[in-house]
Amino acid sequence: MQRRAAQERSSETVMENRPVKRLVRRFREPGIRGHQAAAGWLFLLPVIVILGLFLVLPILLAAWVSFSDWSGNGSPLGPNVHSVGLSNYRHLLTTPGLDQSNFGTSIRNNLYFVVLVVPIQTALSVFLAVLVNRRLRFVGFFRTAFYFPSVTSSVAITVLFLFLFDPTGAINKLLSYAGVTGPAWFYDPRGLFHVILGQLGVTQAPSSLASGTFLGVSYWDWLSGPSIAMCVFIIMVVFTTSGTFMLLFLAALQNIDESVNEAAALDGATEWRKFRYITVPMIRPTIFTVVTLGIIGTWQIFDQIYTGTQGSPSNTTLTPAFLSFTTSFNSNEWGVGAALAFILFGIIVFFTVVTRLATRGQDHVPRRRRFGPPGGSKPGRRSRLASAVSGVLR
């Protein structure tokens, strides 16, 4: 999901390749308007009907299901289905039980996933973009190599990683050459932080952390870090998305006037200082866009979990998206599953809004550092798609 969003975003910029001239686009002859209204609605009709049928109405239907006791038999609008108020939501948020602890676990897993993937993929894609932005021979080859994983399906990549990270697979073979015995990866439920603490001699939870729970998960387990199995998914997603985001950063980098860098070089600036004081401020809007897209995408991880582990080992790769699916389709608790989907929606909106608030006022290239030719810079150089999306989310 994340990759798709990013790809849509990246190729949207294709459109701006040609000189964008806003031309008079409205025909003002009065006689033609009637025709245009009819044709306009006719042209829009298929899109609007499909949007209504498969987006607006489904959301309303699911909202009803999340407040109902529908068990999957017959129509959710049938006479035997009753409203249960907020019971399904309470089941997840306040009523102790399996639903709640599964929900808490999935939130913990996904939270670590987001917190690790988003910064790593953003940093890596900036890094790759800076590398391939140089005037080098074969640079096209390197760009292609880094981008290729983004093209493939998440299913194919997951199958590949299942093989690479098999307990007797390629990665552990490689590690064995270095004298390291690799973990069982996809089969290893131990949390990364717990493993590190274990190395330091802390194997038992301190009593203060063992007793208290939040969302059915003990504080000690909240602090487990991502499981080793989840770490493989983290590596995998970074591997597949870094190329997509690299292209976005490459576009931003090529917008920086080379003379600025040359002037800085003449003044004796080091590579790092040029990067820190010229590059980063100039690509700041793109960084925010990538972080936002990253957060939206990583909270939705589903395909990889479905293909790879189905939430195992010990639920440590369970994510809200996958849990919502199994709760509905496998356990037939449709109300709870739908409620979970809406909570996930809320989480995504919340995180996006927080990011936007935290970066408000900084999401444009600072005026004084705008070195481009006068008049050549539109307000905020990022693509209009991104500004539209963020405008909506703001």
Binding site: S11, R22, L55
Partner: protein, 296 residues
């Protein structure tokens, strides 16, 4: 770069420092190359391993996961795939992908044209709605879509698999932006000559919109070929499995029992070929266009 050397004053000390700067730059360049190469290996090697392993026997794949030459080399994984439902999966993926792709190109361009050029009441509201849609996360919609597909009686059919995927707000957006960027004068003269609105759209505007149409084509093809979640919730019969769904079930169902990696990797290699071919055909366009896109 050469400007630095040219402006260097003619004192010996400065010359020496220029020479060392050149040496440093050369060293830096060599380091950059070896670094890039190392990263490229990390990015490419997994795919090489996937292809090679698909020609291995199962014991060979397990014992020598890193070996780059299969011993013995065998195509039995591919034969096994052929004897399974793989053909059905390919057929379904092709049907769904082509339908979704061509219908999206058509519907997106229709809607984009209306939003960009036709003047009518409610246009702004329609556009806002379409933009809002882009903000709804896809995974959240899985259960809602399933409910609606069932309610409409198109569950477990091609209709249920194809029609909901035609919602493509981003595509409409791309088309609208594109139409706004091309001159309106040609259309105006056609209209003065008495051409109907659909005729103007079909024979004048669409041919001009080729770059945008290609973009939608690439996005839609890749998106629907790689789609998994929607097919999980819109159909259940094995005869309607697409490649993604079939291979995903192959992968997850066998976890634990005999690993069958050559078979799985053969399947994932084959399913990657169409998108890889598409990528290499339009590579210049995908890479360069978006890289140079913001230069105006």
């Amino acid at each position: 770069v050469s400007g630095t050397a040219a402006t260097a004053p003619e004192q010996p000390r400065a010359l020496r420092s220029t020479a060392s700067a050149v040496r440093r730059r050369r060293l830096g360049r060599a380091m950059t190359y070896s670094f890039l190469l190392a990263i490229a290996v990390v990015y490419i090697f997994p795919f090489v391993i996937a292809v090679v392993t698909s020609f291995k026997t199962e014991p060979d794949a397990t014992a020598n996961p890193l070996a780059l030459s299969p011993s013995p080399a065998t195509t039995s994984a591919y034969h096994d795939l052929a004897s399974q439902d793989f053909g059905t999966w390919v057929k379904n993926s092709v049907i769904v992908t082509l339908s979704v792709t061509f219908l999206r190109v058509f519907l997106d361009s229709l809607a984009g044209y209306a939003l960009a050029r036709l003047r009518f009441r409610g246009r702004g509201a329609a556009f806002t709605t379409i933009i809002l849609v882009m903000a709804v996360p896809g995974v959240v919609l899985l259960i809602p879509k399933f409910l609606m597909i069932r309610q409409l009686g198109i569950y477990d059919s091609y209709y249920g698999m194809i029609i909901p995927l035609l919602v493509d707000a981003a595509g409409v957006f791309i088309m609208k932006n594109f139409f706004e960027s091309i001159p309106v004068s040609v259309e105006e003269s056609a209209r003065i000559d008495g051409a109907s609105i659909f005729r103007i759209y079909w024979s004048i505007v669409l041919p001009m919109a080729r770059p945008a149409l290609v973009t939608i084509f690439i996005l839609s093809f890749q998106g629907s070929w790689n789609e998994l979640a929607h097919f999980i919730i819109s159909a259940q019969s094995a005869s309607l499995n697409t490649l993604t769904k079939g291979v995903a079930q192959l992968a997850s169902g066998q976890l634990g029992s005999g690993n069958r990696y050559p078979l799985k990797l053969a399947a994932s290699t084959l399913m990657t070929i169409p998108v890889a071919v598409l990528f290499f055909i339009f590579q210049r366009r995908i890479m360069n266009a978006s890289a140079g896109a913001v230069k105006e």
